[in-house]
Symmetry: C2
DNA sequence: TGTTTGTGCTACGCTACAGTAGCGTAGCAG
DNA sequence: CTGCTACGCTACTGTAGCGTAGCACAAACA
């Protein structure tokens, strides 16, 4: 919860400790995955005593959740004036997130951890839902503008656009190039049709 | 290596042990993920002594690799006469794999493990490459048939088709419905264009 | 300046797990 | 029937990691 952060004027030692701990946790998650993110490793890397970590979080899971939360990126969704422009911008944004640390390195582990950890599962669900929202908005604007059919399913659009990008990151492990993005956006647009459809 | 399997007429006790061990390992991987698939758990579940496990594999990683290998499904790719038919059949096949055990439950963990384990990374690469091959073949047949343009990039087609399906399984966790498959195939087809293109 | 509060440190106890050694037994094949 | 081989079992060693207790110290704060 964010209340804690803004409420009382906290001791600078506390903020420093928390910051160092989370930085180290993120670095470990990114570099060596969930398996290597142990409390002792975080302590060693951050220079903060293990006991101090337990003074701020009840257990390891809570630390890792905080670490993950601390780097969840927010999606941007500017109105570029056309559906194609919006989707392209969005895809480029996602591609950047998918290929640059820290988020990039975190996603595979998060996907797997979400399978058996409900807390992280919720986090992943929030992340992906947040990712789809800009697409919904872009579609809504397109409909309003008369550019595309009112019957367009925004979820379907999001899926067609996000799927191939995540596929590259997680499965085929090919680089996400500008050409690939353009091609994918084109494919999505192709299915949209005009307002008459 | 497969030589061992077919070479000598093996002692039935050996085949029995190996089978029980791998079955237990797969069950554990499927039900509770890579983290829970310990040698001791496999031993307890299979009823085979831990020492016997180490008589057949050098270490835990090797056991898990064998377990994963034992359930990698092979892709089917019948020629239905049209690109659309081929792709639909393929997508339905993949959807089944993505939603039914044991493969379904294994994929998230495999994706994550592949990130830091080169052995499993190779396995995943082989799996996904095997998945894409039928799409390549379908495209090739479509080109030969004059149904679609010779310039069609089969990798792009595979990506557009596989991406959304995997996205549902791994990220949005929505069920893969028949409508969704049809919609996705339609979207892919829409980008193909005719032979004139 | 004195008091409070957060930290570092050492030293724990506990559990889970990897991997091994040696012995006795049971099943297989000739 | 006999030798061979795989197996089960017990008992280890060693390590890694979680989470805690208590004390001394130092930084923040009033």
């Amino acid at each position: 919860m964010a209340e804690q952060v803004s409420r009382d004027p906290v001791d600078p030692r506390v903020t420093r400790s928390r910051r160092l701990i989370l930085e180290a946790a993120v670095a470990l998650l990114v570099e060596r995955g969930f398996g290597a993110a142990t409390v002792e490793a975080i302590s060693a890397r951050s220079g903060v005593a293990k006991t101090t970590i337990y003074r701020h979080w009840p257990d390891k899971e809570a630390v890792l959740r905080s670490a993950v939360e601390s780097i969840v990126p927010t999606a941007t969704a500017p109105d570029t004036g056309s559906v194609r422009g919006d989707l392209t911008h969005f895809a480029e944004d996602l591609a950047r997130i998918l290929t640059t640390p820290p988020t990039s390195a975190l996603i595979p582990g998060l996907v797997a951890a979400a399978e058996h950890d409900t807390g992280l599962g919720r986090l992943l669900a929030e992340f992906t839902a947040g990712r789809r929202r800009p697409v919904h908005d872009a579609v809504a604007r397109g409909v309003e503008r008369g550019e595309i059919s009112a019957g367009t399913d925004p979820e379907a659009v999001a899926e067609l656009l996000l799927g191939p990008l995540f596929y590259r990151r997680l499965l085929s492990r090919m680089p996400v190039t500008a050409e690939m993005i353009e091609r994918t956006v084109e494919a999505v647009e192709c299915t949209l049709g005009g307002p008459s459809r």
